[in-house]
């Protein structure tokens, strides 16, 4: 009988990194949920966020601006929920890491072009970095991306629905 014929997930300990991933998952999940709410929760949220996107002067076609305006926050909300619940944990963390990498690239691009604009990451609010887009925002996102990578790379998340469901990926 091989390991693939039974569900050893519950028997194998998550390990230190598996438990370390719990606060990381919960923190990043809550962060992304809050970020998405600040973007699309208020009545004028999407309108304001579209302005933030336009401020980066990417010369995107109108339909892509609309797609980004709504697609980014809803994706943030979805992966926020899946991260907190521990569903498709590693994939959720990978999406988070990918989005943060995109935000880092946008921030660096804005800084190199000398744009003095608001981040738009959390609507009109800020988290740790005040003012317009700066290297503080880039560093902040880099730290979050590294934390997400920890969750991506460790296959046995603790306190995750993935484990309770006995999926092979949690083993």
């Amino acid at each position: 009988m091989t390991a693939s014929t039974q569900a050893p997930a519950l028997k194998r300990s998550p390990g230190l990194l598996g438990w370390l991933g719990v606060p990381i998952r919960l923190g990043l999940g809550a962060l992304f949920l809050w970020a998405s709410y600040m973007k699309i929760g208020p009545a004028n949220g999407p309108q304001v966020f579209s302005g933030s996107i336009n401020a980066y002067k990417l010369n995107l076609p109108e339909h892509l601006v609309v797609l980004a305006t709504f697609g980014v926050p809803w994706t943030e909300a979805l992966v926020g929920v899946t991260l907190i619940l521990g569903v498709w944990t590693r994939a959720s963390a990978a999406v988070v890491a990918g989005m943060l990498t995109m935000f880092i690239a946008l921030g660096v691009s804005a800084l190199n072009r000398g744009l003095s604009i608001k981040c738009g990451c959390f609507g009109d609010r800020t988290l740790l970095c005040e003012g317009g887009v700066s290297w503080c925002h880039v560093s902040q996102n880099a730290v979050f991306a590294l934390l997400a990578l920890i969750v991506v790379l460790w296959p046995r998340p603790a306190l995750a629905i993935d484990r309770l469901a006995g999926r092979r990926c949690a083993a």
Binding site: G51, V65, L67, W88, A91, A94, C169
Partner: protein, 215 residues
Amino acid sequence: MSCCSLRTVMLQGIVLVALGTGLGLVDSVLRPIKLDRPAPPPIPTSTQGPATSPKPEVPAPGPGTSTTNPPAQPAPAAPKLTSGGPDKPVKPFDFTPVEKLGQGQVTVLQAKSLFDADAAFIDARRKDDYETLHVARAFRMDAKAFLNGDPVTLGLIERSRTIVVYCGGGNCDESENVARLIANSGYQKVYVMKDGIPGWEAAGYPTETGQGVQP
């Protein structure tokens, strides 16, 4: 045996992104947005000022096209400073937090009336943007220069003089940052021209190129 292959993670990630995008598309139908640029104010009939430099192309304030344009308003013969209504005076810039920003902002038309009244204009953009085009007789000062202890330029403006700060329009907030710093220095009459140089130029108001002048 390694679990959860990279391919599985990637597929799940693609599904998550697709789901999020799909939810976003549904929301975009339920809550359509307008991707409009600030409409330039109408050119007043009594436009005056120093000679203008040859106008370059109007820089686009951002991507997207107008889906709707507010109707053009006729220029008043004697423009008054208003904020939200014809009888409410514009409050000079105060120390409100970012969430309440909006006070002290003037339209291009209102800024022009201040320009005609010899207000000092400050360009809060980078040096090369400023030298490409700026409001006539405006000089440049960004927040970093101010924080690095460069009050010399500002010291050349009397504290009783009105100051209008602008930058690139759109979501550019550098003008607000500089205006706040100036207001903190004791200047009482500080305004922000929210539509920035794109709105000013689109209205055909006086502009210059080059290194600029000191007041």
